[in-house]
């Protein structure tokens, strides 16, 4: 569920906020941020009360996420994402909070190639409409909450790479196609390719272990610059491969808080860099050929 939370909620949320000209002008516009604020609260709650994030409550949260996602997509399909409309913010907050509940409750699951391919498929559906990755998030939470999700059980594993820089660099590079294409749907191919790349990395994890961690981090950093709209699929696939191999080495169980925090910071940094294009020197690094 961590892959779905990162790729099918946090990333589309960042894209939706930027793409809708979101700003904190009215209290209702804070609604989509509630899941982000709830992340440390849920993780703190879970430590003394692990049962709160399992059993019937997990089922309720998962079912809620599925229902909210369907309602949300039916409401916003082919419409612009307007967070000044309170229903949009409320449904987004509802989807985020319920799917986060499931993600926190299932963060000890080992994820395989199928989870990443699944996320990639929903990102590809973003070509039809940008709300559909959110539906993917809700459906994943619904399935996991009701124990219909194929979970791989694995033993704990130590980390050889810190999860924070991995998530940060992944978050820095991944939204590039979203900033490039804006409301046009070309970004979905790149993100779907990234999902496929992560799946491939998980399938070939033995190969990834032979690569030095520093090389993977360097590759992730380079991919936040080396981007061209004519090569979004190979770009996404290589990014996914590097990110997948790097994440495999961040240890198990995955640390949801650190991964989400790093990823969010990467998304925010990426937006800030692309939005503040006047910075001398830096602006030539934002896009190749500029």
């Amino acid at each position: 569920m961590i892959t779905a939370w990162l790729l099918l909620f946090l990333l589309p949320l960042a894209r939706a906020l930027v793409g809708s000209g979101w700003g904190l002008h009215r209290p209702i516009e804070a609604l989509p941020l509630l899941p982000l604020l709830a992340l440390p609260v849920f993780l703190t709650l879970k430590r003394p009360n692990p049962d709160l994030f399992g059993g019937i409550l997990l089922k309720v949260a998962g079912s809620g996420a599925g229902i909210v996602a369907v309602v949300f997509v039916r409401m916003r399909l082919l419409e612009s994402m307007d967070f000044k409309i309170w229903q949009t913010g409320l449904l987004m907050a509802g989807l985020g909070l319920t799917s986060l509940w499931v993600a926190v409750g299932s963060c000890r699951d080992k994820e395989g190639p199928g989870d990443a391919l699944w996320a990639g498929a929903w990102l590809l559906l973003g070509w039809l409409d940008p709300t559909l990755p959110f539906l993917g998030c809700g459906v994943t939470a619904f399935l996991r909450g009701n124990s219909w999700w194929p979970v791989l059980h694995d033993e704990e594993e130590g980390s050889t790479l810190s999860p924070f820089p991995v998530a940060l660099l992944f978050g820095l590079a991944l939204p590039k196609p979203c900033w490039d294409f804006g409301p046009e749907p070309g970004w979905s191919f790149a993100l779907a390719a990234a999902g496929a790349g992560i799946a491939l990395a998980r399938a070939l994890s033995a190969l990834g272990r032979r690569l030095p961690g520093g090389a993977l981090l360097t590759l992730l950093a380079l991919l936040s610059v080396l981007y061209h709209p004519n090569a979004v699929i190979p770009w996404g696939a290589v990014l996914g491969l590097a990110a997948g191999w790097a994440m495999e080495r961040t240890g198990r169980p995955a640390r949801l808080g650190i991964l989400s925090g790093g990823f969010l910071l990467g998304l925010a940094l990426s937006f800030a860099l692309h939005a503040n294009a006047w910075i001398p020197g830096l602006r030539h690094l934002i896009w190749l050929g500029n």
């Binding site: 699944w118 039809l128 804006g182 409301p183 046009e184 692309h274 939005a275 934002i286």
Partner: protein, 404 residues
């Protein structure tokens, strides 16, 4: 695949449940992105549907002509949930999706506006509409900051005013539209780049506010493709971008700080493309002051006539005229561009009392006047529309062209 049939089945059901709604979005033609085919030509209509490759029963778009007859659909091409329907255009004005038929002629008059009036300045918008009725332009090109007020009511007022001006309107968004982006998408369409072919012109509109004052790689790719197509078709090319391409330079009176933003990303690539494909003019707003630059980024306050692309900045139509570059004049107005046989002949106006060709200056709002001529018996024999000095914007009109 063990364990995956249930997720795949549930996902497919959820997808069908979410998508099965009779909703569609028309990208073009629509207000701000019109279709202007020659009489008897074809019109392409771009539609996005909820379900891929499917129109909901009874919901396929059928444009009708003035008599209510459905236009003949020549072809439908699908790409997922995006359909492109080709219709045969009506041979006369009145086609519901075509604001005005565009018969070929030698001389065209285009009006460029930017930074429209805001709340409290509605009178200026009405004045502009009245002047457009006198001027009768073939096209109105609006380069952003159309709506400073982020309400549907204000978007409605601006749209209604532009419709009342009587000419087809082509729009590009500005930075203020991004503050109410969903409203912009709802009222003016979901495309960040678009191309309109009208008579001998190809007009390419670009959103210059990805990030901030910037184009993106995919926009440059689109631009190059469209420039190539337009050049091959031998069309006169105009580009609309809210942000001016070149920096303002030193301000005439030191008021330029903070408001003289220009294109920051892909600037040199953009200028190179304009030169390579012979773009006639790049029209911008944003500064609330007139300015004209050549391809080297030099402010042309010496002459309006120079080779290469004209990078034209037009002042605000509505409020807050400023001094951003060294051109020392403030003005509120719009720019009239006259083309003959696809060539830009005139794009500056002379201020009151001057008959010499003055560079940079646009047409001031409120300076248009009409003079009705009468014969010896007192019957109307024609009207001359002037711009405040000796230059007639419309000469002696025939009875068929009689103004309201």
């Amino acid at each position: 695949m063990k364990g995956w049939p249930i997720p795949i089945g549930v996902g497919a059901c959820a997808l069908f449940l979410a998508l099965s709604i009779p909703r569609q979005e028309v990208f073009s033609p629509r207000f701000g992105y019109p279709a202007l085919p020659p009489p008897g030509g074809t019109v392409d209509m771009e539609v996005r549907t909820a379900l891929p490759w499917t129109f909901f029963p009874g919901s396929a778009p059928v444009p009708r002509d003035a008599e209510g007859r459905a236009l003949e659909c020549l072809a439908i091409r699908w790409r997922g949930n995006r359909a492109c329907l080709t219709f045969r255009a009506a041979p006369a004005p009145g086609l519901a999706i075509t604001p005005r038929a565009w018969p070929p002629k030698d001389t065209y008059r285009l009006v460029h506006i930017a930074d429209l009036p805001t709340l409290g300045d509605e009178g200026r918008m009405r004045q502009f509409v009245e002047e457009m009725k006198l001027l009768g332009p073939d096209l109105i090109l609006a380069t952003g900051d159309l709506c400073y007020v982020e309400t549907q009511a204000w978007y409605g007022f601006i749209q209604d005013s532009l419709k009342a001006a009587g000419a087809p309107v082509i729009v590009a968004p500005g930075n203020h539209e991004h503050k109410s982006w969903p409203l912009w998408l709802r009222n003016f369409g979901g495309r960040i780049n678009h191309r309109v072919d009208a008579g001998p012109f190809t007009i390419l509109s670009l959103d210059s506010r990805h990030g901030r004052d910037a184009f993106t790689p995919s926009q440059m790719r689109w631009l190059e493709t469209e420039l190539k197509r337009a050049r091959e078709a031998g069309r006169a090319i105009l580009i609309l971008s809210h942000h001016p391409i070149f920096p303002a330079g030193p301000s005439g009176k030191g008021e330029g700080h903070g408001i003289g933003g220009n294109l920051q990303v892909f600037q040199s690539r953009f200028v190179d493309l304009c030169g390579a494909y012979g773009v006639a003019a790049v029209l911008s707003g944003h500064w609330h002051q007139d300015a004209v630059y050549d391809s080297n980024g030099r402010l042309r306050d010496d002459t309006p006539d120079f080779p290469g692309t004209r990078f034209i900045v037009t002042t605000s139509l509505g409020h807050a005229e400023r001094l951003v570059c060294r051109w020392p004049h403030r003005n509120i107005g719009y720019r009239v561009l006259e083309f003959r046989e696809g060539r830009l002949l005139r794009y500056t106006e002379n201020p009151a009392g001057s008959d010499a060709a003055v560079p940079i200056w646009s047409q001031g709002l409120g300076r248009i006047s009409r003079e009705d001529h009468r014969d010896a018996a007192g019957a109307w024999s024609g009207t001359t529309v002037r711009n405040g000095c000796s230059h007639p914007l419309r000469g002696l009109l025939t009875p068929a062209q009689r103004l309201p």
